[in-house]
């Protein structure tokens, strides 16, 4: 064993495979991290869109005609949950913890967690769970 460890024959080949392993590891990390960030950003933008749309869709027009902004809080809450369920692809699992709305000014804040798989999760890597918080306030009188 000692003789084998001291033998310098083929040391360049071993160094070559060592470098190759490091480079492949870096490539793997770049692909995995890039895809994870992309998935996370996509989910956050869909959640933010759902929040904005829920507020925009539930401004009560009878008040807006008098230049007063009032939100139908219950409708906004229901719409937000419905938009999130319809818009996010099935690979995402979203748990909405709280949805709080204020009628005037029309505002909504939602918190929760989302879980999604990574590219290499099929090889035993765990799914990623991150918390989210989205907020929307509407001041549009037109």
């Amino acid at each position: 064993m000692k003789k084998l460890l001291k033998d310098r024959t083929g040391s360049a080949s071993i160094m070559f495979f060592g470098f190759l392993f490091l480079l492949l590891l870096m490539t793997f990390l770049i692909i995995e991290m890039g895809a994870t960030m992309e998935n996370h950003d996509y989910a956050v933008s869909v959640l933010q869109r759902a929040c904005n749309s829920a507020v925009e869709a539930n401004i009560m027009d009878e008040y807006r005609a008098d230049r007063v902004l009032m939100l139908d809080a219950r409708g906004a809450d229901e719409d937000f949950r419905s938009f999130v369920q319809n818009d996010l692809p099935s690979k995402y699992r979203v748990v909405i913890n709280t949805v709080s709305c204020t009628a005037s000014p029309p505002s909504m804040t939602a918190t929760g967690t989302m879980t999604f798989p990574t590219i290499f999760s099929q090889y035993g890597f765990e799914e990623i769970t991150v918390s989210f918080k989205v907020k929307s306030t509407n001041y549009d009188l037109d």
């Binding site: 480079l23 870096m26 770049i30 890039g34 950003d41 749309s53 869709a57």
Partner: protein, 145 residues
């Protein structure tokens, strides 16, 4: 006959075998390294194109309308000049002009090419054009009365 024997002896000589092994391994290592670096650059360019596409989608979502000049200016600001032949196509149903009604879906397709130069002999490089195609969809957040 003597020359043949000399060549035979030269080929069987073990002197300098480590140097030859090192040169061959180093050449392979450099080649593999260059290929992996090119692959990593392509992957990062793909993510960059994907980011540009997502920003375009968010801009249309928040404004509720498609303005070609704004979209091209945004892509330009985000460094689209690193990509060749970049084009952005929008597929949407407009309620009036270029306006998209609240919750109506639209699709954005970004196509581009990323050129990897393999070798350059004088003025004529040998290159490979790798395609990049991103398809995303969004929904308008603006209610048009």
């Amino acid at each position: 006959m003597t020359a043949k024997m000399k060549l035979h002896g030269y080929l069987r000589s073990k002197k300098g075998d480590s140097a030859v092994e090192f040169i061959m391994t180093a050449a392979m290592l450099v080649l593999t390294f260059a290929m992996l670096i090119s692959a990593m650059i392509y992957v990062t360019q793909y993510y960059s194109a994907s980011y540009i596409c997502r920003r375009v989608v968010r801009t249309i979502e928040t404004t509720g309308e498609y303005d070609e000049a704004t979209v091209l200016a945004l892509a330009d600001d985000l460094g689209s000049d690193a990509l060749d032949d970049l084009s952005i196509q929008i597929d949407a149903t407009y309620c009036s002009g270029r306006r998209i009604q609240l919750r109506d879906e639209f699709r954005v397709m970004l196509t581009a090419e990323y050129r990897i130069t393999i070798m350059q002999f004088g003025q004529r490089p040998i290159y490979v054009d790798l395609p990049i195609q991103i398809r995303l969809s969004g929904r308008s957040e603006v209610y048009w009365k």
